[in-house]
Homo-oligomer: 253 residues x 2
Amino acid sequence: MVNKRPGNIFIIGIGPGDRAMMTDEAFTAMEDADVIVGYTVYIDLVRNVFTDKRFFTTPMRQEVERCRACFDFALEGDNVAFICSGDAGVYGMAAPMYELLPEYLNRGITADNLIVIPGVTAAISGAAVLGAPINHDFCVISLSDLLTPWEIIEKRLMAAINGDFAIVLYNPSSKKRNDYLKKACDIMLSAGAGEDRACGYVENIGREGTKSTVCTLKELKDTQVNMFTTVFIGNSKSEVINGKLVTKRGYKI
Amino acid sequence: MVNKRPGNIFIIGIGPGDRAMMTDEAFTAMEDADVIVGYTVYIDLVRNVFTDKRFFTTPMRQEVERCRACFDFALEGDNVAFICSGDAGVYGMAAPMYELLPEYLNRGITADNLIVIPGVTAAISGAAVLGAPINHDFCVISLSDLLTPWEIIEKRLMAAINGDFAIVLYNPSSKKRNDYLKKACDIMLSAGAGEDRACGYVENIGREGTKSTVCTLKELKDTQVNMFTTVFIGNSKSEVINGKLVTKRGYKI
């Protein structure tokens, strides 16, 4: 029996989904792949662009199965484009792929077969819509406690305020967690952030219906956001200038 | 006298510089512009691609003059591509542009004339080379104290360790600050990070001579990096897997 030479797996950040916000290497890697793998929703974003490709999708909560499917395709000799929204290395599939890799080493796949192609994550694309909210030191925190104990999230929110970072919140809400943003705001307020702290949020970044709102932390606390929203908390010196959220770097103007 | 209708200013993150790592909208905005403005080094990255354009450069430390030049071109009716390496909103020129905007409002430029086009910042592109070092909550901190008092940098390093974030360090060194990475490592160690904390750094991301190294925090402390290096500190659970730096999200593998 002759073993096939394994294919490469490109773990790709496609940005918000629109071609214009994709890098060229992300697009090319999909174009060159034999099969495109991803979460059902993201595959729908590219299915019409690459009509001649094979596609493989798994629904939410089946991320590890999705990763294993990539290894299986690669073992068959296929080049795989494994797509993630935003960036593949920010809450994406890059880490679980490297965690699974040791299981496949004896079948001929090495770290060289995994290639991460960076993309524009929501912290970056959302910031561009709001103005310049993370133009100085910042933290990125996910409010999802599906995989992370809430105590750790709480500790990070407090540390972020203690360090006076600008903060980006991913996954601020879901059907089951519709009060998490309120809880997070309460924690940040109790850690010393002022009620008038400049904040903002962006819905549907880079997609139809992009909408951005600037507000105070007090207002944010009472805002109901959906799961397609990215939330920004300024640092203690952030300002709203002509409707834009701006965290200064410190240049003498 | 008839006032000219002002042009638009596209504040563009070009990523590391290579076309393959640029988004399409970044490239198109440069293609469509009348004049391309930027720091001398970044303009050299695109000068050969857009041979028919006018260019305007200023050296380092003349960032505000560079911003003002963009407004002046726009007042003449030119569409301006103002390029920044990485992302324009991460230690880039987006914030100072919004800070200057109020001075130009009475001359007809509004917030709608400033359009930020997001790009792949070094935290994202460097992470892709190292593996998946920021695949969970993370902080980005610049070690440059040109515009930020060192005490604030120190406070943020400590807060980042207290919150158990993965950490990305920008500007870890310069000619005058060749011991700053060592100082930063000492602060993180004193804040409770273990000497064996998994770390890594990448030189010349996305450019010729890209080189990545994985090491411990103790080793990092004694490493001399150059100014074209981005440094990554794992969180307390980050691991090196097959030579890659991986910060797990928490999937059950």
